[in-house]
């Protein structure tokens, strides 16, 4: 009997510490990735990296200014296309929807969110690249925009539904219309959460490579306007990392550090912003 108790207690301690080890392994991976990127990419970051075009192979120096600008343009398009649809759709789900349609939209949003990004790329290719017969910034931005919609929509909805009903009733009691109530009371009350959701969605697609491979493609030079193929940070990391040149590899590390830095900083800032307290207390 005593032996059995000993066994149970030993098992208890062993298994519980093993679960701790699981967390430790998972969490340390992030710090390892970050450290390794800083170690490998940090020394190649310079002013030129942000301001110069890629140098021809064999020539030292050169930067990724066109890729950085390309990524920004793609993100701008993604926000332009995805955020309004996601935002208004979220308002519909939370404020105007009945029962059946919101359920369907919600479920579809979750499913669309899980569609592999490369398939979204095929979709943008079929819809924009095929009719235009060439790759373009527009197609890349469209692909990223589609990936933004479900996240923004679900996030907007969840923050809107957290706004206390007393606020809504107060607005109604003042004689406001429903749209006035939504636009001037509910949306501002949830604005902080909604904004952070948008930022997180954009940070997520900023690192997407797969949907850009055959939509925005790549470009060794500046990409004027919106109808030309453009370079972007994730794609250039992929190209350089799988290329044969030592110099490319070093540039890939530097670009990886910049990309990871952007993504992590956005995530951490958003978190800090959110945890400063919501604009209303939930009772």
């Amino acid at each position: 009997m005593n032996a059995r108790l000993m066994w149970r207690k030993t098992l208890n301690v062993t298994m519980l510490s093993l679960t701790g080890v699981c967390v430790l392994i998972t969490v340390s991976v992030l710090f390892f990735i970050l450290g390794y990127l800083v170690y490998n990419g940090g020394k190649d970051l310079s002013w030129n990296f942000f301001t110069r075009l890629p140098a021809p192979v064999g020539e030292v120096g050169g930067g990724m200014a066109n890729a950085i600008l390309g990524s920004l343009k793609l993100l701008f398009l993604a926000a332009l296309f995805g955020v309004p649809i996601g935002l208004l759709g979220g308002v519909y789900l939370s404020e105007f929807g009945g029962r059946t349609l919101p359920f369907i939209v919600r479920y579809t949003a979750d499913l669309l969110n899980g569609v592999p990004s490369i398939v979204i790329g095929i979709f943008a290719y079929a819809l924009i690249v095929m009719p235009m017969h060439h790759f373009s910034t527009l197609a890349g931005g469209f692909a990223l925009g589609i990936m933004v919609i479900p996240t923004v929509l679900r996030n907007t909805e969840s923050f809107l539904s957290e706004v206390p009903s007393s606020l809504r009733e107060g607005a109604f009691a003042m004689g406001a219309n429903k749209w006035k109530m939504v636009a001037t009371v509910v949306l501002p009350a949830a604005s902080r959460g909604i904004l952070t959701g948008v930022l997180l969605a954009l940070a997520r697609v900023a690192g997407e490579t797969a949907p850009l491979l055959f939509t925005a493609f790549g470009n060794r030079y500046w990409s004027p306007g919106w109808m030309q193929p453009t370079s972007s940070l994730p794609v250039i990391i992929y190209t350089y990392a799988t290329g044969p040149y030592e110099d490319w590899h070093r540039q890939a590390w530097a670009a990886g550090l910049v990309l990871l830095g952007l993504v992590l900083v956005t995530n951490i800032l958003v978190r800090a912003f959110l945890s400063r307290g919501t604009s209303f207390e939930r009772s």
Binding site: V23, G207, I237, V263
Partner: protein
Amino acid sequence: MATTPNAATPADLAWSPRALLRRIRSADEIAHVITLIAAATLLLITVLLVYQLWVLSAEARAKFGWSFFVTGTWDPVAGQFGALPFIYGTLVTSAVALVLAVPLGVGGAIFLAELAPPKLSSSLTFVSDLLAAVPSVIYGLLGVFLLVPIMRTTIQPALKRTLGFLPLFQGPAYGIGFLTAGIVLAVMIVPFVLSVSREVLLAVPRDQREAALALGATKWESTWKVVVPAARIGIFGSVFLALARALGETMAVTMVIGNNPKIAASLFSPGYSIAAVLANEFSEATGNLYLSALIELGLVLFLLTFILNGLARLLILVTTARGSGVLPT
């Protein structure tokens, strides 16, 4: 039938043009319609996505039929397209990833949900969420330059020495291949298993734990025999969710799997996955049949992840709804 404007029933409002106009004139209705259009756009996009994949893969579907899925030849020059090596590679790498990631993720979730103080738990979950936010091309970068050499010089030879009698661990150690891709995928999906499982575990009512402890169970026994079984459907959900991620993951896999359409029992062998072949060959595909075959691969990938995701959401919904039905979360 004479209806006064104020006494109109909703049916009248919907059908009489004059009433409709009046309704639309009010700002509420405009706001309603605009937001409805936005929500409907999402549905439209999804439907259009399926439609495009279906229509554009028509040529390959007509030419190869079901044999597309059981043929192992992928020869764009000869116009022979079989998806088997890619489906095989996708499934094998995802299976390796699950074998590694599920114990790690569920174990971690148990720690975070049952043992860690709330503050520590939420900050560790945040770190794990950050891990999920790391772009996949970064995982690929580390995979190529860090993991592949380690696999080649250390891990694969060690596995060969100890487990070499299994067909899984035979053959030359290239570094790249199914096993390496599986490991990278595992790292990428652990955060999903972890954070969803944690939520599901937290949704298990407190009474269950206390009842088990009151009966003299140790903490581990109450967790493993009471809490985890109560949450098992949701944990399955998290595993399906992670599996769907693994199946569709493109860049990191493309960079380390070896890109060689071959079916081999050994995990050391270079292979190919559906997403990887799309990434590599789509923009260079010449000829309609080639493109159509690639798009059919995309359709397969889409359907796989769509079904898995649907299932996963349903399972998670069931568990958390059941949990929160007892206790408000």
